[in-house]
Amino acid sequence: MKIADKIITWARTKSPWVIHFNTGACNACDIEIVDALTPLFDLERFGVLLKGTPRHADVLLCSGPVTRQIEKRLIRIYEQMPAPKFVVAVGTCACSGGVFHDCYSVKGGIDTAIPVSAYIPGCPVRPEAIIDGVVKLLSKFEADEKKRRESK
């Protein structure tokens, strides 16, 4: 069992599949996420792959504040992802609501709807910051898994 566990952790940290969901963002963080996946920054060299469906994804990249219309859909998408799942709030709006914090149709940051594992602030986030955030999230996950195995 121990070896199987190790292999699963290895596979998860070496090749996280991500899904991107715009929860009401202004498109700025979204284009920076796509930018991070294209040749200059090339997140794919770390094994990160963008998927189209939440059922295939390990990491949910959310950009933008949670609007009242999107809230239910966001929760549904989160529930469709297989465990262990991570949510990354990309951008200031996703972290706290940002410039839209007091708009009547905005609930606030992503953490008002679903639990968030990592926050990447910035308006918009630079692709380097996205890469840094994802790498930090993965190394933390790796360390947590190691701790969990050792305490067994």
Partner: protein, 406 residues
């Protein structure tokens, strides 16, 4: 066989933003397209009424991250018109240069997305790599890659020095070379031409009827460009052509955008050559007098219209935005009629939709589908009646008791 209804969105691999389409199919043919927007509605217009003009620049800039400069310029132009402030010539040139660089980044972005939607991912990777050239340039100018905050009331916030102007010229040379390569692909590559030709057809008459703007309208032979028709900033002093095409389909839209890029380089070169010396901003009053103004701006996607009403305080009374995608959305339903299901992603992508710009209002409807307009007095009467009949609270009695007869 009866019609089959396929929902697309709000989360879908082919869509970059949350919106949903309900497509009625007869076999592979599209019979009807239903659209549902509003997932991105944040309430920017209402929020703008509660903030000062200066705070609003940063809010309006974040209406859309791709055409951020377009929205802030359109808003600022309207406010300047209300206040009656004329900005220095150099500021006008700086606004135009940044606006044109934004158009370069937006059109290259569109080219990549369009390539991706038809399964030509190499094009996506190529054009997004080249797009980094202009992104780096914008980062060097404004300190931020996307929301550059170059505008302020009364002019520009930062000057473009000689080194920067030279750097822009060098980058434009590189980009022009690459754009020529893409034009070569678009006009010679058989697979691309065959894939895009005839898809999302919309005739000139329909374009006029539906009020389509920007490259989508120009690809159907309409010569409509706010830079030419109603010159703002420094566009009155540059020489450029409005690119039109008569293909009326997605292929035409691709050609229009690519050729427009060449015009953009031409404009940037002229602007840099003729940029006058002088101040970049004038003093602007904190309180804007009562009055209203509408301003037009040719954003990369089409004409952006902003309306501002001032009331003598430091906050606007009303701000209204009409983004180009809203004008173009109605034409999508027309374009998709009788097309194949497989053409849906590229036909939608071809108008270069931006739903964060578009989602400006929420309309609530009765379940029967009828909507009605209720006056304030009517609404008040209804709520009083509701509480009297449902909860037995008589406000008129209370009003008489505490506040006299209202």
């Amino acid at each position: 066989m009866g019609t089959v209804k396929i929902p697309i969105g709000p989360q879908h691999p082919a869509l970059k933003e949350p919106e949903s389409f309900l497509i009625s199919l007869d076999g592979e043919r599209i019979k009807d397209v239903g659209m549902r927007l509003g997932y991105n509605h944040r309430g920017v217009e209402k929020a703008a009424e509660g903030r000062t003009y200066i705070q609003n620049i940063y809010l309006i800039e974040r209406v859309c991250g791709i055409c951020s400069h377009s929205h802030s310029t359109a808003f600022i132009q309207a406010v300047e018109e209300v206040a009656g402030v004329e900005i220095p010539k150099r500021a006008k040139y700086i606004r135009s240069i940044v606006g044109e660089l934004e158009r370069v980044h937006s059109h290259l972005l569109w080219l990549g997305v369009a390539g991706h939607e038809v399964g030509f991912d190499t094009l996506l990777m190529y054009s997004w790599r080249d797009r980094e050239v202009v992104m780096e340039l914008l980062a060097a100018i404004g300190g931020n890659r996307v929301n550059y905050a170059m505008n302020t009331f009364g002019g520009a916030r930062r000057d473009l020095d000689k080194d920067m102007l030279e750097r822009i010229l060098k980058a434009v040379d590189v980009l022009e070379d690459r754009t020529k390569y893409y034009i070569n692909i678009a006009t010679k590559e058989t697979t691309l031409i065959k894939r895009l030709s005839g898809v999302g057809y919309i005739s000139k008459d329909d374009v006029i009827k539906l009020g389509t703007v920007g490259p989508t309208g120009r690809a159907s032979g309409i010569s409509r460009d706010a830079r030419k028709d109603d010159p703002y900033a420094a566009y009155g002093e540059v020489d450029f052509n409005v690119i039109t095409d008569t293909h009326c389909d997605v292929y035409g839209r691709a050609v229009v955008r690519l050729l427009e890029l060449m015009e953009t380089y031409k404009i940037i070169r002229q602007l840099i050559k003729n940029i006058p010396d002088g101040d970049i901003a004038v003093r602007f009053p904190r309180r804007v007098p009562a009055g209203e103004a509408t301003s037009r701006y040719e954003a990369p996607r089409g004409e952006d219209v902003h309306y501002v009403k001032g009331n003598g305080t430091d906050k606007p009374e009303r701000v209204k935005l009409r983004a180009p995608t809203l004008a173009n959305l109605m034409s999508v339903a027309k374009m998709l009629e009788d097309d194949n299901l497989a053409d849906v992603p590229i036909a939608i992508a071809a108008i270069d939709p931006c739903f964060s710009c578009t989602d400006r209002m929420i309309k609530l409807e009765h379940s029967s589908g009828n909507s009605e307009i209720v006056t304030w007095g009517d609404l008040r009467k209804r709520s009083i009646d509701f509480y009297r009949t449902q909860h037995g609270i008589d406000f008129s009695e209370l009003n008489k008791k505490y506040r006299g007869n209202l």
